[in-house]
Symmetry: D2
Subunit: 343 residues, 4 copies
């Protein structure tokens, strides 16, 4: 059985494990104040400029910590109704006291126009003090649907956010896979020019675990470590995170392994399209969402794991195939062969 | 410079790293539902009987998740004023909405009589609905002071807790070191007989990271995974935690490495006592708290790192020396030699 | 200018003010433990049977206190997307840590089938631990749209709630106006048979302020006063609330004044219908939502205040006219006359 | 039985009830946006200068709303360990996510030196990110012990707060009684010069209910009404609060009735002292804390209600006698007579 269910089925890139082995008996200070974290921060700064970098363990933790850090008690976070924080984090944001203000989305993205409309409606409402005040914008790129924001879309969002004094926060759980999505995909300079805060996903892109929260806006940097500790997000042996990001940002490793994953996903995509299978979302990244008939699903499920997404019509569902840094060329070849044979 | 500052300065026991290497490219389900977590659970059950076991990343996270899980909104948690949750977690418990009800303690421990008194005072207060209702008891063993509860003390606490329907929760960040503290130290059967919930510390006892929350009381087992996810405490690659605890509970490794740490600490303790240095707490575990004059501190600080604890008088402070599973025999020998030479 | 904007524009029924005058210099215990509160509770019990009754100051306060009381930390509250807690309480429920799980509604009501579907979808989702667990159902009757639940609808909701162990909570801010809505409107025995908790609105139905929270389910009665105090919902001079509800439930006053308001609203409704004006909702209660052209709005606004509701099309908006216990017959007659004259 | 248990046993000053009667059928907008609230605000501004004024229902509500408004998520509030928020609000502050950082106090007051020491200790602690950051200072004047801050003490507190950027918040539940405490008691100009926020207590000083939150610091005024609504602290018929404060601040009523209460309390105080009875606190305000033997308590309890405070020694307890705006001269005379007869 070959597993395409998700992008966190394997361990870590071997270079990371090797670093852990090599440094295992070194003694370092805890809580992210060691030299490896410092080195990783410097490497990220070489890409992103003068930013603050904090290493957290996981994505839900990063999201809830950043959002609780940015909002005032009476504020909520605007995001796509499909957004991870609205759907798949067991109300982690609400547990910090804040409403998720969901905007309708068909492909996982929201637009600058939607944010503007939400702000104008809030302002125009004579009873706006009885409503949750929108206090920031959350986006993911890639989204849960595999789609990405273009530079123009991100810039438009950033402009509207600045006009309304809304911090813009980008969840980059699969950031590398988005950056490998094509020539006009987001670059580091787009992220730092447009976002107030974003995170660079490690868990899904080569690390054992870990996400690097990057605070771009200098006005939003004070005291973040307090809330990290409070939310259980400050790892005692912080160097484990530093070592991993230091490795990922040495010799373009993050970029290289991301490109590999996307290339494998695009091979899968092409195979489905050639077979005449429609895709639920037009994804240039590592997740593909073919719409399959029940017997097609059964056929592929003999040798491959994948993930149910949603019902499309009486006979068909969309399903999800994920690749990752760890996906083997021969496994994709086997899958493509099966797609070709599929009824 | 040899570091005795804390018990999480190094990485992990080599057997753990080897397991991570060996299994790196296996594909497993996420979120703790893999075979390694299952195997680790079974090994812990072979020691603890019919219990639920959940793997979380760190101690603050374990504490805030368990406490938020157990308390009703108007309840607080009784604990020693020295307790980690009261002092060193940046208000993590309060951030979940609950007051820490601190009881005075000189050595990190609280007594059954203190809990009983708190409950009787609450009941006797005609305005008790205007006060936070004590809803559970938190203890650590070993405590932050290196002391341990005896079986009799734990049993007495458990009895009073049951009488007042208070869940008893034990923070076992250094549980192994407490179990290695001597013949009458707590055994697994004491923990499961007395506690409703406890956690087995991995971060400080051989793991890269990870704590195993053990829910003993069958009435308190429902839906814990929901709150784990909500608080960012459900690791995507949960197998990393399963693998580590599976290794620690194979062939008595947890026990063996704990005993090593305590033996090294007792060597240090003896050296201080022979030198005529008093100890702030009478610790049979891996933390030792000598009371040193300033020039003694300066002398030892030439070659060793240790941790300031608190001022004792004009000329003296207590400091802390920690050993761990990773402490080398020769490093302790060097420290002992320095203690002997100390002014 | 005659004000039909809302149902809390005036003070209180004169009988209530008289009671406050008559008892002003009596000395009573605080916090709801006085004889007036006790008497009011007994009168409510004579209608509702063996229930617990607590007096709170306002509706948002009642909702947030009851919901925080009923839910576990990882649970959310199912309600109509139009529901007050989802729209007009500035995220009060989220500020207690809980997500509002909004179900689509056209008329302010939700159905048993919707609740069942939500529960089945939650159960069927393999990742349900990553989603907020529905933990209770919130309904209002009358709703924000002026509509009411029939006995059959409420019973169906209650049945599905019991099947899934979901407490059913009814916000009765305008309860009296709902009970006066016609022969098949909800009676006390329907409320106590179907709801676990409901509140009897005073603020909008004759009182200066105050809502009576009625806890029907015996399993949900413990410690409610603790959370009342914690949320600032326990009035020091609790007797003020007791006196008001005692007066409202003496000699059928609550019923009588509610009927008056609904009769006046139905006169307004008839006038609009006779004029050929459509209504946005089919409301048998004290709120009416005619759909008016801009010039019609301007015409009526010369002498009457009313409330903008929502845009219907390019030329028309729905607006809201409220009556209350205090609405004067001659003011409604004047309004009807204007409606007849309206362009 | 004459009741000296507390200062909220009666209703309201008759002038307030009269205003409620006179205005009962006027129609006003809700939520504090009516002309009576506006007028009350102007009267308070005529005493306090350019401040924002918001009317809330009760003291716990005012405290939790202001504190949640002022603090960042990782901050706590410094206050006396005897403080109402630390003792008698069922963890209302913790329920908003914030720790109460209690400072030891013998008489209900804290000093500038204590605040300075807390700040310096926090700064000096190398692990301060693991501790709750002090984010504001809470004081009451009069305190729960009946004591008051002098101008010098308040100014010193204010200076240290400004040096450390800590908002200073004064709970004035009994503010009037403090202002009537003697020639050097706090004046309005002291409050506005020293406090960032304070509240003027109505519930205990002549109103049926209500507290006026005064925000002095212009930097802390934005969006307070959002959090009021969110915490259930925005009264629908806000005019009820406006009317009461407008009345209290017409013709020096607040001042006059406060002075009356304090004069009556001082008569009681003198009677105890003349009888040779010691007082637990040296209170110049409306609460007196004599230390009585059990048989003395029993003797007085035949005709008077008072409140148990705390055990002093084997034979004696301190008890509390409160006067208020409503205390009758002849009742105090009867009490004094009883004190003289006391065994």
């Amino acid at each position: 059985m070959i597993d395409f269910t998700c992008d966190y089925s394997e361990g870590a890139h071997p270079a990371i494990l090797q670093r852990l082995m090599d440094t295992n008996f070194e003694q370092t200070p805890g809580y992210g104040e060691d030299a490896y974290c410092q080195s990783a921060r410097e490497k990220i700064r070489s890409l992103c400029g003068d930013v603050d970098v904090h290493f957290l363990v996981g994505g839900t933790q990063a999201n809830l910590t950043v959002i609780a850090f940015l909002l005032k008690p009476w504020q909520g976070v605007l995001c796509a109704d499909t957004g991870h924080i609205n759907q798949h984090e067991t109300g982690a944001v609400e547990a910090t006291g804040h409403k998720v203000l969901a905007l309708p989305s068909k492909d996982g993205k929201i637009t600058a126009a939607q944010v503007e409309q939400a702000m104008e409606e809030h302002r125009a409402d004579a009873t706006h003090e009885h409503r949750v005040q929108p206090g920031m914008v959350f986006i993911g790129s890639p989204t849960e649907c595999g789609t990405v924001y273009t530079r123009e879309e991100l810039l438009a969002l950033s402009n509207v956010c600045r006009r309304y004094h809304l911090p813009l926060y980008l969840d980059g759980a699969r950031l590398g896979y988005g950056m490998a999505a094509g020539n006009d995909s987001l670059r580091w300079e787009d992220l730092t020019a447009c976002c107030d805060v974003f995170y660079i996903g490690g868990t899904k892109v080569g690390a054992l675990f870990g996400e690097a929260v990057v605070i771009v806006n200098p006005a939003l940097r004070t005291d973040f470590r307090y809330i990290m500790k409070q939310r259980g997000a400050m790892l005692a042996k912080g160097r484990l995170l530093g070592l991993q990001f230091d490795t990922l940002f040495t010799g373009h490793l993050y970029e290289t392994i991301s490109r590999h994953a996307v290339e494998q996903a695009q091979r899968i995509r092409s195979a489905f399209l050639e077979k005449g299978i429609p895709l639920l979302f037009d994804s240039p990244t590592n997740q593909q969402f073919p719409i399959l008939r029940r017997e097609q699903q059964a056929f592929l499920a003999q040798d491959f794991s994948f993930c149910y997404w949603e019902k499309v019509d009486e006979n068909r569902d969309s399903v999800r195939f994920c690749t990752s840094w760890a996906t083997r060329d021969e496994d994709v070849t086997a899958l493509i062969h099966a797609i070709e044979q599929m009824p």
